[in-house]
C-alpha cells in the first residue's frame, strides 16, 4: 500500500511539474460532458461542438495556445461535480465549458460560486433555475433554457392547429417541468386547458408506457409529449401499437434527429407533429448550412446532422474563445476582464445572433418545426417559423416573471 502510494505521488509530482512548464504560454480549457452511461452519444456530440469551435480559432487565442482537457460525467450531479473538481483543482483549468444535462448544470452553478477565479460557461444544460434563481457571477449560459426552447409552440398549437385541450406526458424531473411550463403558459393564456388529472409524470427510465397510454384521456385534442431519446422511441412505438390516434405535440428532444432516425419501423403517424427548440435540421440559411457542412467534414463518423448538443457546446465554446480573444488571452487577474467581456458579448452563430441578459443567460432565436416526410421516405423536421431573440423572462420584467413560481408538476394550473 505504501509503495503504491509513493508511486502515485511521484507520478503526480512529475505531472504537476510538467504542467507548470507548459503553463506560461498556455490557456487551459476544460470541457465537461456526459461521456459515460446512457447519454454517452449525446456527450460525444457535445465534444464535437467544442472541437469545432476550437478548430475555428486554431486552438490558439491572443498568441497563447489552448490546451483542451476533457472531463466526463454520467448525467448525475455528483459525477459532474467530481469531474469539475478534478478539472479545476487538479488540472488547473481556467475556463470550464459544460455540463450537458439540466440537473448537472444546477450543481455546477453551486460549485462555480466556490471558485470565483474560474470562468464557467455552459454546455447544453437547460434547467431554468441555473440562471434564473440565485445565479452565479461566474457562470455564463450562451445557450437557451428549456422554457425558452418552447417559445412559439403554445401559440402555434392554439391558433394554427386549433387545439383547445391537451394532455401532458413527460418525465418526472426538472427539465421536462421546464419544457411543460414553456408550452402550457402561453397555451393557457390564450384560453387552452390542460387539467391536472391529464398530466402524466412518468419516472425516469420507465420503458413501459402501455398503462400510461391506457390511462390517457380520449376527450382531449392532443397530447404534449416531452420525453427524450430512448423514452420517446419507446413511447411512440407503444402508442402506435396500442392503436392510439390522438395527434401529438413534441418537446425539444421528442421528435429530433435521434428519434426520427432510430432503427425500426418508420412511424408515419407522427408526420405533422409540431415541436420547437434551439435548432432546426432543415433551416435554409447560409450560416446553418456552413455549420452543417463543417460538421460533416470534420466528423464523418458523427450524426447525419449536428444535434442540439453539438450546437450548444459549439456556441458556448465559441463565446468563451471570443471573450478570451477580446482580453488578449490575459487571465492574470483571475479572469475578471474575461467575465466582463463575456457579460456584454454579442455575436453571430449558425442559428442567429446571441446576446446576454443581466443574469448571464442567452437571448437567442428559437425554431418552430414540424415533422414531414423528406426525400427518400425518411422523416425530417421542417422549419415553420423562427421566433426571434427570446429571453429567459419572455420579455417580462424579472420580478413579474418570478411570480410564475418555480417549475413543478402543477405549474401552470391551467384548469
Amino acid at each position: 500500500m505504501l509503495v503504491m502510494l509513493k508511486k502515485t505521488m511521484a507520478t503526480a509530482l512529475l505531472l504537476s511539474l510538467a504542467n507548470l512548464a507548459i503553463a506560461q504560454g498556455t490557456i487551459k480549457m476544460g470541457a465537461l460532458a456526459t461521456l459515460e452511461g446512457a447519454f454517452t452519444v449525446l456527450g460525444e456530440d457535445g465534444m464535437r461542438g467544442v472541437k469545432m469551435a476550437l478548430n475555428e480559432f486554431n486552438y490558439s487565442v491572443g498568441g497563447k495556445k489552448i490546451q483542451l482537457i476533457t472531463g466526463s460525467s454520467d448525467a448525475s450531479p455528483d459525477s459532474a461535480i467530481r469531474a469539475a473538481r478534478k478539472l479545476v483543482e487538479q488540472d488547473g483549468v481556467q475556463v470550464l465549458v459544460g455540463p450537458l444535462s439540466g440537473s448537472e448544470g444546477l450543481a455546477i452553478k453551486d460549485y462555480a460560486k466556490t471558485k470565483p477565479n474560474v470562468t464557467f460557461v455552459n454546455g447544453t444544460s437547460a434547467a431554468q433555475d441555473t440562471t434564473l434563481r440565485k445565479p452565479a457571477e461566474n457562470f455564463f449560459r450562451f445557450s437557451t433554457d428549456g422554457a425558452q426552447w418552447m417559445a412559439g409552440l403554445g401559440e402555434y398549437a392554439y391558433n394554427v392547429k386549433g387545439y383547445r385541450s391537451v394532455a401532458v406526458l413527460a418525465e418526472d424531473y426538472s427539465f421536462p417541468y421546464t419544457q411543460v411550463f414553456g408550452f402550457l403558459e402561453p397555451f393557457c393564456r390564450l384560453g387552452g386547458k390542460s387539467s391536472i388529472d391529464a398530466r402524466f409524470w412518468v419516472p425516469i427510465g420507465n420503458k413501459d408506457y402501455s398503462s400510461v397510454i391506457a390511462a390517457l384521456p380520449d376527450d382531449v385534442d392532443a397530447i404534449y409529449v416531452a420525453l427524450g431519446g430512448a423514452d420517446s422511441v419507446n413511447f411512440l412505438t407503444q402508442y402506435e401499437q396500442a392503436g392510439g390516434d390522438l395527434p401529438l405535440v413534441g418537446g425539444s428532444i421528442t421528435v429530433d434527429q435521434s428519434v426520427l432516425g432510430s432503427k425500426g419501423r418508420t412511424r408515419k403517424f407522427i408526420i405533422g407533429t409540431p415541436a420547437s427548440g434551439p435548432i432546426s435540421d432543415t433551416w435554409n440559411d447560409p450560416r446553418w448550412n456552413k455549420f452543417v457542412a463543417d460538421y460533416k467534414k470534420q466528423f464523418p463518423d458523427g450524426f447525419p446532422s449536428p444535434s442540439l448538443f453539438a450546437h450548444g457546446y459549439y456556441v458556448n465554446t465559441k463565446a468563451a474563445l471570443l471573450g478570451l480573444q477580446n482580453v488578449g488571452g490575459d487571465l492574470s487577474d483571475g479572469g475578471k476582464k474575461l467575465r466582463q467581456s463575456l457579460s456584454s458579448l454579442v455575436f453571430d452563430t449558425p442559428t442567429g445572433m446571441v446576446s446576454m441578459d443581466e443574469r448571464r443567460n442567452a437571448i437567442a432565436d428559437i425554431f418552430l418545426t414540424e415533422v414531414i416526410e423528406g426525400p427518400g421516405g425518411n422523416l425530417v423536421n421542417k422549419t415553420i417559423e423562427v421566433v426571434p431573440q427570446v429571453s429567459q423572462t419572455f420579455g417580462l420584467q424579472y420580478e413579474d416573471f418570478l411570480k410564475y413560481g418555480q417549475v413543478g408538476r402543477e405549474n401552470p394550473r391551467c384548469e
Partner: protein, 336 residues
C-alpha cells in the same frame, strides 16, 4: 385442485367469487357510478391485461434464475446481464439475417453456451461457497455491463419482428358505448398477447421437462438432496451444467422477447435483475410455480401502480416484497 377445495373451502369460495367479479368487470358495460369511482373501464382492463402480459415476461426471465438457485444454490446476479446480452446478440443476428426467429434461437443458444461455460469453468471450483459464487456473478455483471456499453454504446435498439406479430388487434371486450349508440371495442397490441402465449408455453414446457423426463427427475431430486443424487451415481456436474445452460438460455431468450416489446438499452440488465429478484423473493426461491405466482403479483402491482399512482407506483412492488418477507420469509411457495 379438488383437494385444495376440500381442504381450504373458505379460501376456495373467496377465490371463485373474486374470479367471478373480475370476469363481470371485464365483460360487462360499466355504469356511471363505477366510472366516476375508479376511472374508465378502458384503463382498468388494459392495465389488467398489461399486468398479465408483463407477468408473462417476468416469468420468462425469472424462471431461469430460480432454476439455477433451486438446484445449485447459486444466486446468479449476472442474470440481468445475460438478458441484455441475449437481446444484443439476438438483435445483431436478426438484423444481419433478416429473420427475427433466427435471432431468437441464436440468443437462446449463445447465452446457454455462456452459462454452460461459466458453470464448468468457474463455479465448479467453488462448490458449496455460495457467497463467493454470488460475488463472482456480481463482478461478471459489472464487467459485462461496461463491455456491452463499449460495444453497443448507449443507443436504443429496436427489433423488427414479423408483421403478423405486430400492430394492434381488436378484442371482444366493450370499452364504452357512446351516446350515439356505437360500440367501441378495446384495442390491444398483438405482440403483448404473443408474449403471454410464449410464457404459458414455456411454463408448460418447463413443467413437462421437470416432471416427465428423466433429467427433470434428477433435477428435482438434486433440489431436495444434492449429495444423495451424486451418491446414486448420477454425473452431477453434467446436470448442473445443463441446468445452468437452460437457465441462462431462458434469460437470453427472454431478452429478445422483452427487447422486442420494450426496446434494448443499457440499464435493462439491472432492471430485469431486480425484477427477477423481487419475483423470486415473493414467489419463493427454487419453485417454478412460485415464480408464476410471484410474477403475476408483481406484474399486476407494477402496472396498476403505473396507471393509478404513477408517482409512487414504483415503490409498490417493493412494498409487496417487504410485506411477504415479514409474514413468510421463504416466499409464497418456497420451502426452507
Amino acid at each position: 385442485m379438488l383437494r385444495f377445495i376440500e381442504r381450504h373451502t373458505f379460501w376456495a369460495i373467496i377465490i371463485v367469487l373474486a374470479a367471478a367479479i373480475l370476469l363481470l368487470l371485464i365483460f360487462s358495460v360499466w355504469p356511471e357510478w363505477l366510472i366516476s369511482a375508479i376511472g374508465r373501464k378502458k384503463t382498468f382492463v388494459i392495465t389488467l391485461l398489461n399486468g398479465i402480459t408483463l407477468a408473462g415476461l417476468y416469468f420468462l426471465v425469472a424462471s431461469g434464475f430460480t432454476l439455477v438457485f433451486g438446484l445449485m444454490r447459486n444466486v446468479n446476479l449476472a442474470h440481468g446481464s445475460m438478458y441484455l446480452l441475449g437481446a444484443y446478440i439476438g438483435y445483431e443476428v436478426s438484423e444481419r439475417s433478416g429473420s427475427w426467429f433466427l435471432g431468437l434461437t441464436a440468443a437462446f443458444f449463445a447465452i446457454a453456451l455462456s452459462g454452460f461455460l461459466l458453470q464448468t469453468l468457474v463455479f465448479r471450483r467453488m462448490e458449496k461457497e455460495e457467497l463467493r459464487q454470488t460475488l463472482v456473478t456480481i463482478g461478471i455483471s459489472i464487467i459485462a455491463a461496461d463491455l456491452m456499453l463499449a460495444i453497443w454504446t448507449g443507443t436504443t435498439y429496436q427489433f423488427t419482428p414479423p408483421d403478423w406479430l405486430w400492430g394492434s388487434s381488436v378484442l371482444p371486450i366493450i370499452s364504452v358505448i357512446k351516446a350515439s349508440g356505437t360500440v367501441i371495442y378495446l384495442k390491444y397490441p398483438i405482440y403483448r398477447l404473443t408474449v403471454l402465449a410464449v410464457a404459458v408455453l414455456v411454463g408448460i414446457a418447463l413443467w413437462l421437462f421437470l416432471n416427465r423426463t428423466k433429467i427433470g427427475m434428477m433435477i428435482r431430486a438434486g433440489v431436495n438432496d444434492r449429495d444423495m443424487l451424486s451418491a446414486s451415481g448420477v454425473n452431477i456436474q453434467l446436470v448442473f451444467a445443463i441446468v445452468f445452460a437452460i437457465g441462462a438460455g431462458l434469460a437470453g431468450f427472454a431478452g429478445v422477447i422483452g427487447g422486442t416489446a420494450l426496446s434494448i438499452a443499457p440499464g435493462e440488465d439491472i432492471r430485469y435483475l431486480l425484477a427477477s429478484l423481487i419475483v423470486v423473493i415473493v414467489g419463493g426461491l427454487g419453485s417454478v410455480a412460485g415464480v408464476a405466482i410471484g410474477s403475476l403479483l408483481i406484474g399486476l402491482a407494477e402496472q396498476f401502480g403505473l396507471a393509478y399512482f404513477p408517482t409512487y407506483g414504483v415503490v409498490l412492488t417493493f412494498l409487496i416484497m417487504v410485506v411477504v418477507l415479514a409474514i413468510r420469509p421463504q416466499g409464497i411457495m418456497g420451502e426452507r
